[in-house]
């Protein structure tokens, strides 16, 4: 099943939003029901181990591009998330692994799968940022193709669309809030050249050159 939408973030820039969405910590904080979101080091994602790791980790939200750069999503890498999706009395917790298939500002593609007991899902998702027409904000166009299996599949048909819409809405509202609270991107985005010819921010932003802007 496919669903999509556009969410507009006010009073921000594509660079700022891109930076925010590059930060697993900010994404984790903004995703409703997400207990942790961590880079998967080895082949297998062991969720018990990851949970332990998450409890020991001391990561904080920041607006410091240096810090974000350290932990930013990387193309081709896998990330594990423990997500509880709450729909009334139905509250499955999904062990989810997502691969960043493509990360090329202003576009990111990811695919993943998750399971919870006898239920599971597979999804592929993409997101693109653009300046809004009034130039005052950023439009996030997103689309997701998801397949749901097992017990929740029958229920899925009915609830997935509105529930997904609600999760996305809450996610971006939180992102907007965090952007505002942290002042992400307020650090200049054009300082200091690096050895590979890309600025630090360029690297975080996944840009190949520091010249273009939308």
């Amino acid at each position: 099943m496919e669903f999509s939408g556009t969410f507009e973030l006010e009073d921000t820039t594509v660079d700022e939003v891109w930076l925010a969405l590059s930060d697993p910590v900010l994404v984790q904080e903004s995703l409703p029901g997400c207990t942790f979101l961590l880079h998967v080091e080895g082949e297998e994602a062991d969720f018990d181990e990851l949970a332990e790791q998450a409890s020991e980790l001391d990561r904080e939200l920041t607006n410091d591009p240096e810090v974000i750069a350290q932990r930013a999503f990387k193309e081709g890498e896998r990330y594990a998330a423990l997500m509880q999706v709450s729909v009334g009395p139905v509250n499955p917790t999904f062990e989810t692994v997502v691969t960043i298939d493509e990360r090329d500002r202003p576009r990111m593609d990811a695919s993943g799968e998750g399971s919870s007991g006898d239920s599971s899902f597979e999804m592929s998702s993409s997101m693109a940022l653009s300046e809004t027409d009034d130039g005052d904000g950023v439009a996030v166009e997103w689309e997701t193709q998801a397949d749901v299996f097992g017990k929740v599949a029958g229920m899925g048909q009915r609830v997935i669309n509105p529930v997904a819409n609600r999760i996305v809405k809450r996610f971006f509202s939180s992102v907007q809030e965090e952007l505002h609270d942290l002042g992400v991107g307020e650090v200049s985005t054009s300082d200091g050249d690096e050895s590979d010819g890309r600025s630090l921010v360029d690297r975080v932003l996944g840009r190949s050159k520091s010249t273009d802007s939308e």
Binding site: M1, G117, D118, S119, S120, E122, D147, V148, F149, G150, A153, G154, Q157
Partner: protein, 816 residues
Amino acid sequence: MTVDSLDPDDVDAADILGSAIERREDPALLTGNAEYTDDIQIDGMLHMAVVRSQYGHAKLEGVDTSEAEAMDGVHGVYTYEDLVSDETPGGGSFALPTAWLLDSLKQVEHPVLASDKVRHQGDGIAVVVAEDRYTARDAAGAVDVEYERLDAVVHPSEAFSDDAEQLHDDAEDNVAFDWEIGDAEKTADAFADASHTASIDLDNQLLIANAMEPRAAVADYNPGTDELDVAMTTQNPHVHRLLMAGVLGHPEHKLSVRAPDVGGGFGSKIHHYADEALVAWCSMMHEGPIKWTATRSETYLTDAPGRGHETKAEIAMDDDGNIVGLRVDTMANLGAYLSTFAPAVPTYLYGTLLSGQYDIPAIYGHVKGAFTNVPPVDAYRGAGRPEASFLVERLVHLGAKEMGMDPVEFRKQNFVPDDAFPYETQVAVVYDSGEYTKPMDEALEMLDYENFREEQERARDEGKYLGVGFSCYIEACGLAPSELAGQLGAQAGLWESSLVRMHPSGTVTAYCGTSGHGQGHGTTYAQIVANELGVPYDSVEVVEGDTDEIPQGMGTYGSRSAAVGGSSLVKSAQKVVEKGKEIAAHQLEADPEDIEFENGEYSVAGAPDRSMSMADVAGAAYLAHDIPDEMEPGLEATSFYDPDNFVFPFGTHAAIVEVDPDSGEIEIERYVAVDDVGNQINPKIVEGQIHGGIAQGVGQALYEGAEYDDNATLMTGSMQDYAVPKAEHVPEMETGATVTPSPHNPLGVKGVGEAGTIAAPQAIVNAVADALEPFGVDHIDMPMDAESVWSAVQANATADGGAEPGSDDADHGGER
């Protein structure tokens, strides 16, 4: 017209056959004294639950049963490896057979538990045996299965596409069979010469039977005697015994299958499923009683659905409106494996009915069967015949429209004429008897057809859209002459067996190899036997559904019980009468030739005072003090009745509907059914069968459909989402009857179980098409839910620049 029931005590013995008496099975059912399979309680009984697939199609990478095994109350968890192990009981195939073969059929392996691959969600992966049903279910949930998901296919057209995932290694391109009937060349010529044609593209959706009682089995193995008793929800215990013996490798004579009270079947309890065999195996494994009762969600995943056709078809007419040819190309969904009778349904039960009630000189049908990731598809009430009848009647509706003729006139002109019977069609069957205009005329009178057309005109002017639809159906039932069945691919004879046993006191037990599950056989069979023997109705007890009691049998499906089982009882009873005649002759000191038998009395011709009752003769037979030399004592007879031909019930159903183009809602204003099912043994039971059949046909037309997503996950997996019609969804039905006895059986009966289901859908679809003619809507696929009707109106309004509501555009469409 409603049939009123009679108390059997108020019916004269001579009138018992044909009387609408109350049903003798009802008191037990009405007081809670009935015994359905799940009601059976045996001391020490354990419960089984089945672990089923999370996916429509996947490879099994691993099954971890350890957590389930460790749970309190769990007695065992088994996978395919355990079944086939030398250490465990049984040495059978552990694979389900198909009992109908076709030349081109790919017989794929169907293990009772998946070994390496799951091909539909209902596929079992492991079974759990535990103290109680809750624990068994808990433990099933604790079995951890690792899958590698594969792409799935749901519809035949997808299954045949080039990039489709193949289900079985030995079924290339997912083709299960490729079959044809009729004369392709002759039909091509007819189309080439025809002056008019009409065509249709349609889906006949998958339906789920939804018998109110879910499938269940209780198996009890006795290690001392090696006897394995299975009580189960079955329509045909003897067939299940035969097939299960092979699946388990347990000798047939040590296996007993019994159908307790069965809560409806509609085809879904004919087939041999994995679950019942697994219960039996677990019982051998644990050397004691085990129960399994499907939850409703399991029946949705495992009960064989029916229908599932994608069809392109066309009809050809000459200038005068005579049908000159009919051509059909169908892709049939067979699901993940071949179910018991699956190959017969879209072939011989479908293609042979493509002539409908019409005299069509050239017919060609081509059917390609597809393996897909839905549950194995098989017979559901009507089985093949509803698909044929739907198609023919939709084409006739469109043909009439193409000709600019009234649909009634067009039909009548093309009916097989009364003097043409027995009529041999172009598709390999010979219709026994018929007068097709009779039910049509009666239906027209009940409808007041002429007036309706005027009312329809007036209503359209007011923006109300009424329509009438006809369905002149034919069905072939009473399966079947064994030799013919064998030629067509059946792996069994389709005779029926019975035993009529007089007791010394003159009462009777009649045993029959059919197995009723709501049809009232106890009542109708007693009517038949009481009539033949001339004994009181209450003196006859009927026994069915138990392989230990009844010598042999083939079961109840395909509307065969009265025609084949009933006829077998007649034959057995006649043998009893014949033997009695010799005893009476001996006792009355007359020549057997001179003994007459009437109303239960043997008398000497010309000397009515020299007589003996049936009861006296029975007493004499068992006393055996004075019976003819060489004669064995006792009075009973067994027969194996093999019919000469199918029987061909027919009739006309008509619906009047009002359609609201704004909301897409359809209101059935009237539903008229005139059926000719031959002689009626109990008209009230016949009426009930017709009612119930129509309700399921209405369900198909308007409400029901099994929907799967692209991954073959069932989306309509509960009654919350699959619309089983409720009381308010089924219209009041006006029934009428004509009687054209079948010449092929001693009762002159034709079969009634499926007639309503076969007849109803096209009556309603034709009515809706008639109502929406001003909008240029020719066809809406079933189920015609409100949205599909609304969308069809919208689509046509847009596509045709908006056929004005109210304008009557008779030439519209016809050729699409």
